[in-house]
């Protein structure tokens, strides 16, 4: 992973922890399937919170792949670099 995406990953982890109400400290990495409270409603809240925070717009086709802090960081980094 590029350093740009790596630096985003911590911020994303904190954002996810806040929206999903994960007990602190959030795990180093986690995936959607292992976090019950990351349901389909929360998933959209996460995506829109990311869009608002970073000023990007994800394509609907990207939604399903945004399943971990690392995956989100990579996608976000690509958007920000575009």
């Amino acid at each position: 992973m590029t350093s740009g995406a790596e630096s985003l990953e911590g911020e994303i982890r904190d954002l996810l922890a806040m929206i999903l109400k994960l007990p602190p400290p959030p795990p180093a990495d986690f995936v959607r399937g292992s976090v019950p409270q990351w349901d389909s409603l929360k998933h959209m809240e996460v995506i829109f919170a990311l869009e608002d925070r970073y000023g990007v717009r994800f394509d609907e086709s990207e939604f399903a792949a945004l399943i971990s802090p690392m995956a989100i960081a990579k996608a976000l980094h690509n958007h920000l670099a575009a």
Binding site: Q37, D39, S40, M44, E45
Partner: protein, 199 residues
């Protein structure tokens, strides 16, 4: 039952299931999560199931369609409608992998229950180990009844969690779901080919 209710949302709509949907239903349900009854395994068996469904009162089965794409993307039902007590249950909720129609489908089925049928309460029962759907209902703001509930799943009784949404709480839930449904629609619109301006 045969019905003629159509509900249109921001990006998705519900229309009545018909015979032409039999193969679609089989394909979708056979590939669905392990928490959904698999149901009939062939289009012919599904057609037979639909014939019985068409005769069953108080059961409204819908196809979820994407408005712009004009594609079938899922299924959802409101059933066990009890007009006398003003109650019903919703379920048979399944979407194509990758579809973003789940939230708006839920919103539309609630709209149907409260605004079209004027029901007083809608409940949903979810297998106790289907944590993500239980979390979805919690996130919507529904209350768990806490009562021990068993549901039939592929011929066996299994423990379930029951959520209820009384009419008084519907406006709060609607607001929450509608805000997300609008945003999803906006996202689809923004990336729709005709929305892109040619240089």
């Amino acid at each position: 039952m045969r019905h003629n209710f159509h509900l249109t949302g921001h990006a998705f709509r519900l229309r009545p299931v018909d015979e032409q949907d039999a193969a679609f239903i089989v394909a979708l349900r056979q590939n669905a999560s392990r928490f959904l009854n698999t149901g009939p395994a062939s289009a012919a068996d599904q057609l037979a199931w639909l014939e019985r469904y068409f005769e069953r009162q108080g059961d409204f089965y819908f196809v979820v369609e994407a408005i712009r794409r004009k594609t079938r993307e899922g299924l959802i039902s409101l059933y066990d409608v009890d007009s006398r007590n003003g109650t019903a249950q919703w379920g048979r909720w399944v979407l194509n992998p990758g579809s973003s129609g789940a939230i708006e489908a839920a919103l539309l089925v609630y709209r149907f229950a409260f605004d079209e049928l004027a029901l007083g309460e809608v409940r949903c029962r979810t297998l106790a180990d289907n944590f993500s759907v239980i979390a979805f209902h919690d996130s919507c703001g529904l209350q768990r009844t806490g009562a021990p509930v068993m549901i039939e799943f592929d011929g066996k009784q299994r423990p379930a969690i029951e959520h209820t949404l009384p009419r008084a709480e519907w406006p709060h839930v609607m607001q929450r779901l509608d805000r997300l449904a609008r945003r999803i629609a906006s996202s689809i619109d923004d990336h729709w080919p005709s929305a892109k301006v040619s240089p």
